[in-house]
């Protein structure tokens, strides 16, 4: 059974763009073009995730969000907004959204975040002490990393970067997701800052091994896993 996504977006072009992308990624998409209809559709809690524009006619996105949370609808929600300052994001997250994405965005960014949300929603978060991907092992208690029999020496932040990638293995993670998840910053640091970090990590983790684990996904970000 394919997953159901509700897109609440008044801009027809944007809605079509999101709908088309999600359809190709194998989701079932419903659309509402105003806040009231969006709230009505979402209020039975049958969706796996909701993509909610912040500025909507009828009832704005933040009001829809508060109303749903007040009605105990815990469906994961991503807010889409043209208001992209760090403060706007925090306001959105405080109001109970699970993620906040600033327009314009690349579809890959939306997809990566949506998949992260739904994975979190279904699997829960068991307490782990050890993360593993193929022959790469990360010991969270001892703060040690091993690739095969070799110990990989990492700086603390490189360790956290690898931890984030391993917790989201086989998912695409974007540069902004890494900046938020590893550094807790929400601004655009400019000049391929994140790329340099990832390539440093890649040199330590992948160099000299037959199967690379860190993959660059063009136009989107990175993915850690076996194979392309």
């Amino acid at each position: 059974m394919s997953r159901k996504i509700l897109v609440v977006e008044d801009d027809a072009t944007a809605a079509a763009f999101i709908g088309k992308g999600l359809g190709e990624a194998g989701f079932n998409v419903d659309r509402a073009d105003n806040g009231r209809d969006g709230f009505f559709l979402a209020s039975d809690g049958s969706y796996d995730a909701i993509i909610l524009d912040r500025m909507l006619p009828g009832m704005n996105g933040m009001a829809v969000l508060s109303a749903l949370r007040a009605a105990n609808i815990e469906t994961p929600i991503i807010i889409l907004s043209a208001m992209g300052t760090a403060d706007d994001r925090v306001a959105g997250l405080i109001a109970g959204s699970d993620d906040y994405l600033v327009k314009p965005f690349a579809f890959a960014e939306l997809l990566a975040r949506l998949q992260r949300l739904m994975k979190r929603g279904s699997a829960g978060t068991p307490i782990e002490t050890r993360l593993q991907c193929a022959d790469l092992e990360l010991d969270l208690l001892g703060r040690r990393v091993k690739r095969g029999d070799m110990t990989v020496a990492l700086q603390p932040r490189e360790f956290r970067l690898l931890e984030y990638l391993m917790r989201h293995q086989d998912q695409v993670v974007t540069r902004t997701m890494l900046l938020e998840g590893v550094w807790d910053y929400h601004f655009d640091p400019g000049t391929n800052i994140i790329d340099v970090h990832v390539s440093r990590l890649r040199r330590k983790v992948d160099a000299g091994f037959a199967t690379p684990l860190i993959h660059t996904i063009r136009g989107a970000g990175y993915r850690l896993g076996v194979g392309d």
Partner: protein
């Protein structure tokens, strides 16, 4: 954080002085009037008494001539009341007939209105002040009546001393009134000043508290509040326009990138793909400019102050170093943290972004630089953050241009970058009541971002 006000020479000190002086003048005037009134009253009493005595004796003269007057004089001087009296009757030749003084006082005319003379009475051992009236009697005789005013003068002296004491008692009271009045005024004005500075710091919702009394201060406050309401309305309109504009611009950019992304999946023509990649890049630049412009206008409007947190300066710089060090190393620049310490309350995201912009600028524009130093020190409740490179620097005359919005020193050489980087840094400085300054690092550029208002 209250700055030390220079008291002497301030308007407050002058007001205190003015009120004090006026109070003292009023008190002094009242006391002086009281003193002269008391003096006049007591002299008047003496005059009346002596005049009456003269009239009485003249009446005796009419009845019985000099003899009767002389008898009266002897009688009266013998009574208890006579103690304070001066009486003298002289005949037509000027010889003493009766009285308690040897002769008519020298220099005193025979017919004299009220005089105060110094004379020694018979039987007295000292000279006394005596108020006298000289009267002609029919037949060429002369009568001198008088009364000792010595003790009256003493009484006046006492009253003067009392008045002096009253004056010095009034002194601290006047000072108190002056200080209290000034304080009252200052408190009212301070309310208005507090509101003004809060508004200056971006809290446009602040209003002057009114007491509804309708006095001058209340009317000033009302006028002030009316002005603030107007300003707030204008600013919020501006904000709505700004964010509305940003929203309206983002929507078409979003549609543009969405269309491009869709188109890229539908063609394999390398020429078209390359062109679309270039357009995507430009759309990205446009979007970044818009985002930065929005950040700047928000920071300048004071939005985000509620998100200030206490931050350990050394830790914050270590975080930023950690984020940027790989990138600077890749372009051959050593990023170094110089001694930093202290705690400061700031907007973590925006300050990090500002420092990031400065490091990014150094990487892009500091020609010949191989070292960028990063430091932060808390001095006098200000945090001074410095990003200093050892490149070629910016000439003094070009520094202002570098700080101006959309200003780029050499637009032809660096195609990317909107020229908003330093404007954002400056807006972040202002959000923290601080300043941004460019200086010479000899060699290189030294950017000083000072957060917090100067003390004092």
């Amino acid at each position: 954080m209250t700055p030390r006000v220079r008291f002497f020479g301030s308007a407050t000190a002058r007001l205190v002085a003015l009120i004090f002086v006026l109070q003292m003048l009023a008190t002094g005037g009242v006391l002086l009037y009281a003193r002269s009134a008391i003096l006049q009253q007591s002299t008047g009493d003496q005059q009346a008494f002596v005049g009456e005595l003269a009239a009485d004796l003249r009446a005796w003269h009419r009845r019985g001539g000099n003899k009767a007057v002389a008898a009266q004089i002897v009688d009266r001087l013998a009574t208890l009341k006579g103690e304070n009296l001066l009486l003298l009757l002289t005949n037509a030749k000027g010889e003493r007939v009766a009285g308690n003084i040897e002769a008519w006082p020298a220099g005193l005319p025979y017919h004299a209105p009220w005089h105060t003379i110094d004379a020694m009475r018979t039987g007295s051992d000292r000279t006394q002040s005596i108020g006298v009236i000289g009267t002609d009697l029919p037949g060429g005789a002369h009568l001198l009546t008088g009364r000792v005013v010595d003790f009256e003068l003493r009484r006046t002296e006492v009253s003067q001393r009392v008045l002096l004491i009253a004056f010095f008692l009034a002194l601290p009271l006047a000072l108190l009134v002056a200080a209290w009045t000034t304080r009252l005024i200052n408190v009212r004005i301070a309310g208005i000043a507090r509101t003004a500075s809060a508004v200056g710091n971006g809290d446009l919702a602040q209003r002057v508290p009114l007491d509804g009394s309708g006095d001058g201060f209340d009317r000033l406050g009302q006028g002030f509040n009316l002005m603030l309401t107007r300003i707030e309305a204008l600013v919020s309109e501006l904000r709505i326009i700004t964010s509305g504009l940003a929203h309206d611009l983002r929507a078409p950019i979003f549609r543009l990138t969405a269309t491009l992304e869709t188109a890229k999946t539908e063609t394999s023509d390398p020429v078209a793909l390359a062109a679309m990649d270039r357009v995507s890049t430009e759309a990205g630049v446009l979007q970044a400019m818009l985002a930065t412009a929005l950040e700047i206008s928000q920071a300048e409007a004071g939005i985000g102050r509620d998100r200030f947190v206490d931050v350990d300066v050394a830790e914050m710089l270590a975080d930023i170093w950690e984020l940027y060090e790989p990138a600077t190393e890749a372009v051959g620049i050593q990023l170094v943290i110089e001694p930093s310490a202290g705690k400061f309350r700031l907007h973590r995201e925006l300050v990090a972004q500002a420092l990031g912009n400065l490091i990014d600028n150094a990487m892009k524009y500091a020609e010949g630089a191989d070292r960028v130093g990063l430091s932060g020190q808390v001095v006098d409740r200000q945090l001074r953050l410095v990003v200093a490179d050892n490149g070629t620097g910016i000439a003094t005359q070009d520094r202002e241009q570098a700080l101006s919005r959309f200003g780029r020193l050499d637009p032809s050489r660096h195609a990317t970058g909107a020229g908003l980087g330093l404007s954002l840094v400056e807006a972040v400085a202002r959000l923290h009541d601080g300043t941004l300054a460019l200086a010479d690092n000899a060699p290189g550029l030294r950017v000083e971002l000072t957060l917090g208002a100067p003390a004092g």
